[in-house]
């Protein structure tokens, strides 16, 4: 029997856990990753949802993992290939041609909107660029004398200052604003407004009129700086496999089908984990990729935490509002006005800001949207290996689907599926007839399938009050928890979810900065 002691045990083999493990192993630590599911990846996995049909089961696009990290971990040497890069976005319309949204230009919009577009994306990208170092850094603590904390704050201040007077003023003006008002200032076309507003509310408990929705838009853009929308060959699971290979190459071990029962405390510090099998693995540091509520309340337990801290953790907003729909199709669907090429891009059903806000309204009262906003991808256009020959897969993110549906998902599931398919049908006539199999994952399903409390793909809502120095909660915002030797590395930490990997890397830096 070999030793069951490691310098570092990572609980959860999601992408952040794997990134963290890779960097820790590179730092010379002995590392073990424990994954409860039968494959690593967490919410970045490819699964067969119908015989012969595979799909990225939760996250379906890569838009925020930086090229620098992909190069640094040599993921392409470890098998990562892209079936599409720089994917274009199309705003679908039922009564006309779609609008194509490019990096700097828009086609299909009115002359005035097309003229306004470069100025708008230019401004937002400059602001996002200024905020990007914030995403990369370990959040500072306030009121300390530590140089690292001061440097981060100074750097952030400097980045904003060097935006210049005009942009800085604009950042302060629009930073807390809602996307609805911002987009109404810039554009006239409802279709263009709706599509641009969609990114402000994607994956969050926001409607375009919610205060702070410009912030989530800037956040998404900042994450996407230097990381264009792309689709890994073989789905997001292929990215996780590459990360696992990179971690393994650095010396980390990965065990799947190994759920952790609880975190072990000895002499007032984290000392390892107890598996559900009863096996004990001791470690100098325990790094949790699991969401903060599950980490603190379930794996650790309140007995090792201050009551006020536990209360803050329990008040984290963790309820997801985005559902995932997977369709196995007989053939390639035909979206009205959309060319064959465009089907390999990202298709948005969000015809106006009013439509989007109305879709959100339902969720506030525990109802699903009767006219949902949808992000559609047809991954098999770029990557035919995901389905049998000539057949296709449609993968859609659908908003809004409340975690706690008033009538319960048992009751409401079929009705919501019908609503989504009807909506898709109105944009792609004939689609419903070609469906071989369909699968809907509500936030409640996502919670169960991917072990995320509340089923929120960011683990905890991304909003001003749960961001940066306050993510997940003050007292655990620097990846180090109040318990010595216990760290967090998941999406519940700064800078949050989306398949980014920064939380995992920053956590590894924090662990390596201390004696393991």
């Amino acid at each position: 029997m070999t030793s069951t002691h490691y310098d570092c045990v990572v609980v959860g083999g999601g992408h952040n856990g794997l990134v963290c493990a890779a960097y820790l192993a590179r730092g010379g630590r002995s590392v073990l990753v424990l994954e409860a599911a039968d494959a690593v990846g967490g919410a970045a996995v490819t699964r067969e949802f119908a015989p012969g049909f595979r799909v990225s089961a939760c996250a379906h696009l890569l838009h925020s993992m930086s090229g620098a990290m992909i190069r640094d971990l040599r993921l392409e040497d470890h098998g990562l290939k892209f079936s599409a890069r720089q994917m274009p976005t199309f705003a679908l319309s039922t009564d006309g041609a779609p609008i194509a949204l490019g990096a700097t230009a828009v086609t299909g919009a009115t002359v005035e909107d097309a003229a306004a577009y470069p100025g708008y994306v230019g401004l937002l990208n400059r602001l996002a660029e200024a905020l990007r170092p914030m995403l990369e850094s370990v959040p500072p603590r306030l009121g300390t004398d530590a140089w690292a904390d001061k440097r981060t704050l100074l750097q952030l201040g400097w980045q904003i200052r060097r935006l210049g007077r005009q942009d800085m003023r604009e950042l302060l003006r629009i930073g807390g604003m809602n996307a609805f008002d911002l987009l109404k200032e810039h554009f006239a076309s409802p279709l263009l407004q709706g599509a641009l507003g969609f990114d402000a509310v994607l994956g969050s408990n926001f409607g375009p009129r919610s205060p702070g929705s410009v912030f989530t838009l800037l956040y998404r853009l900042a994450g996407a700086q230097g990381a264009p929308l792309s689709q890994p060959q073989g789905g997001l699971g292929a990215l996780s496999s590459a990360l696992a290979a990179a971690a393994a190459a650095a010396g980390a071990e990965v065990r799947t089908n190994t759920p952790v029962e609880r975190i072990l405390i000895k002499d007032h510090r984290a000392a390892g984990v107890v598996l559900t099998s009863g096996e004990i693995i001791t470690a100098g540091s325990v790094i949790s990729n699991v969401d903060p509520q599950a980490t603190f309340l379930r794996l650790l337990g309140p007995e090792y935490l201050d009551a006020g801290f536990t209360r803050r953790v329990s008040h984290l907003r963790t309820r997801g509002l985005a559902a995932k729909l997977h369709l196995a199709l007989e053939g390639l669907p035909k979206f009205s006005g959309v060319t064959q090429d465009a089907l390999g891009g990202r298709l948005l059903i969000s015809p106006s800001l009013e439509y989007l806000e109305r879709a959100f309204n339902h969720s506030k009262y525990g109802e699903f949207s009767t006219a949902p906003a949808i992000e559609v991808t047809i991954p098999t256009v770029n990557d035919p290996s995901l389905a049998p020959t000539e057949k296709h897969v449609l993968s859609a993110v659908v908003q809004y689907a409340p975690y706690s549906l008033k009538e319960g998902w048992e009751q409401g599931r079929q009705q919501f599926e019908d609503v989504i398919i009807d909506t898709l049908e109105s944009y792609a006539p004939g689609l419903s007839k070609s469906i071989i199999h369909q699968q809907l994952l509500t936030p409640a399903d996502i919670e169960r399938e991917f072990r995320i409390t509340g089923g929120h793909w960011h683990h905890a809502e991304l909003a001003f009050d749960q961001f940066f120095m306050m993510r997940p909660v003050p007292g655990a915002a620097q990846y180090q928890t109040p318990v010595d030797g216990l760290f967090l590395c998941g999406a519940g930490c700064h800078p949050g979810g989306g398949v980014m990997g920064t939380a995992g890397r920053n956590a590894a830096r924090q662990v390596l900065g201390q004696a393991a």
Binding site: I265, H268, Q293, F296, L297, G301, P302, E303, Y304, L305, D306, A307, G308, F309, T310, R311, S314, P482
Partner: protein
């Protein structure tokens, strides 16, 4: 009458199995009357009542000096009903309490009582109180102030736990003084002599009425606290008063008790410290280490709220401490500022409680003093103001830092207790 609003006390989301039994609406009438109120009203000679935790209670029955000397020389009855009481029960009760208070509750056996404090995350005192272990999985927490919000916060993450406020379901009397045991024995409580300090038991008193008796109190002397069904309150009062007739028994109010508790060195919330739940300004909270309650803090047990902060505070060393003062002269140093020098140039603290101790014949006080002046044997100067027929006089009086308690007779611990 039940106000529907109070039933909204719900367990927080992550611990749906925590059941919270609503407390009755103590705010429906401004001041409630305790089950002993009619008896107290009949015996009150000076009509001196004060509000206490939502109840009207006696401050003085006849005369403070008479009542005080009854505590030290006879037996006294003090209505303890307003003391806030929580029933904490269920398989998780011990784990919950052990994380709440700074003492090791796993060492508390069934039938025993422990004086405890609990802190917030920063290690600042929220309140002190007593924990009674009634059975394997059932405890009672007695506190000066209502704690439901903090108890609910502390319950997050615990399953199978009941937290119920039972203040109004239990009437309570403190029976304190050197003859308290003999009065209880005379009243027919058989076996009460076996109770050791901080022990509790059930005893029959009369007509099949059963009492829970704990050998606890707030006077630093021999004494008991009696816990009963409010329906039996008046009957028990009558039986005890009759049994005490020849043993110097009298009812007392809060004023006399306050002198005794200062002699015993006990702390009074909102007098000697302010709960961190109520302080507004930084630096006005107090930690158990600062209050001289380090003996209640077990750093070796797995965890309790505030441990991390207290470990750090202990490492840094104390900046101030609550200590006893022995002050020259006989003028109580109420609210006096303390100086390191007679000239009053350097302020080093202030008095929180002061009294002339009739039993010790000393002018005593509790005071919060800055480092390093709090060490036993140090001398500080108390700035005492005296109002003499509306003419204010100011005296700078020498005071020595001394150990607490000021009064601790052996009879308080003797088992069996003396049959005076």
């Amino acid at each position: 009458m039940r106000n529907p609003e109070i039933s909204l006390h719900k367990a927080p989301d992550p611990s749906p199995a925590v059941m919270v039994v609503p407390s009755p609406p103590h705010y429906v009438q401004p001041l409630l009357k305790t089950p002993f109120h009619n008896r107290a009203r009949a015996l009150s000679q000076v009509d001196s009542f004060i509000p206490w935790a939502g109840y009207t209670t006696v401050d003085v029955f006849t005369n403070v000096e008479h009542e005080y000397f009854a505590i030290r020389n006879g037996t006294t009855l003090y209505d303890l009903t307003p003391m806030v009481k929580y029933r904490i029960a269920g398989p998780a009760a011990q784990r919950f309490l052990n994380r709440l208070v700074s003492r090791d509750i796993t060492k508390l056996k069934v039938g025993r009582v422990a004086y405890c404090v609990w802190c917030d995350d920063a290690g600042h005192l929220i309140d002190d109180g007593t924990v009674f272990r009634l059975s394997e999985d059932e405890y009672r927490l007695c506190t000066a102030e209502r704690q439901l919000d903090w108890l609910l916060s502390s319950a997050i993450g615990f399953d199978h736990l009941v937290i119920e406020e039972v203040t109004e379901q239990i009437a309570a009397l403190a029976m304190q003084g050197p003859t308290s045991y003999s009065v209880l024995a005379h009243a027919g409580l058989q076996g009460v002599e076996r109770l050791k300090p901080f022990e509790l038991g059930a005893f029959a008193v009369a007509d099949g009425i059963s009492l829970m008796v704990s050998r606890t109190g707030f006077t630093g002397d021999l004494g008991y606290e009696l816990w009963m069904d409010p329906a039996h309150a008046e009957r028990v009062w009558d039986v005890l008063m009759a049994a005490g007739q020849t043993r110097g028994m009298r009812p007392i109010g809060s004023k006399a008790l306050n002198i005794a508790r200062i002699e015993a060195g006990f702390l009074q919330p909102n007098v000697d410290f302010v709960s961190s739940a109520h302080t507004v300004h930084i630096g006005r909270d107090r930690s158990p280490l600062e209050l001289g309650l380090e003996w209640l803090v077990d750093f070796d047990k797995p965890y309790f709220t505030g441990r991390r902060a207290l470990v750090e505070e202990k490492r840094r060393g104390p900046t101030r401490r609550l200590v006893g003062l022995d002050i020259d002269g006989n003028k109580p140093a109420h609210n006096a500022l303390l100086y390191s020098d007679r000239g009053g140039r350097k302020e080093v603290g202030s008095v929180t409680s002061a009294t002339w101790s009739p039993t010790c014949k000393r002018n005593i006080a509790l005071a919060m003093i800055d480092a390093p002046h709090f060490t036993t044997g140090s001398t500080v100067w108390a700035d005492i103001y005296l109002n003499r027929e509306l003419v204010w006089e100011r005296r700078m009086v020498r005071a020595r830092v001394v150990e607490r308690p000021f009064f601790a007779p052996d009879r308080r611990k003797a088992t069996p207790p003396g049959n005076f």
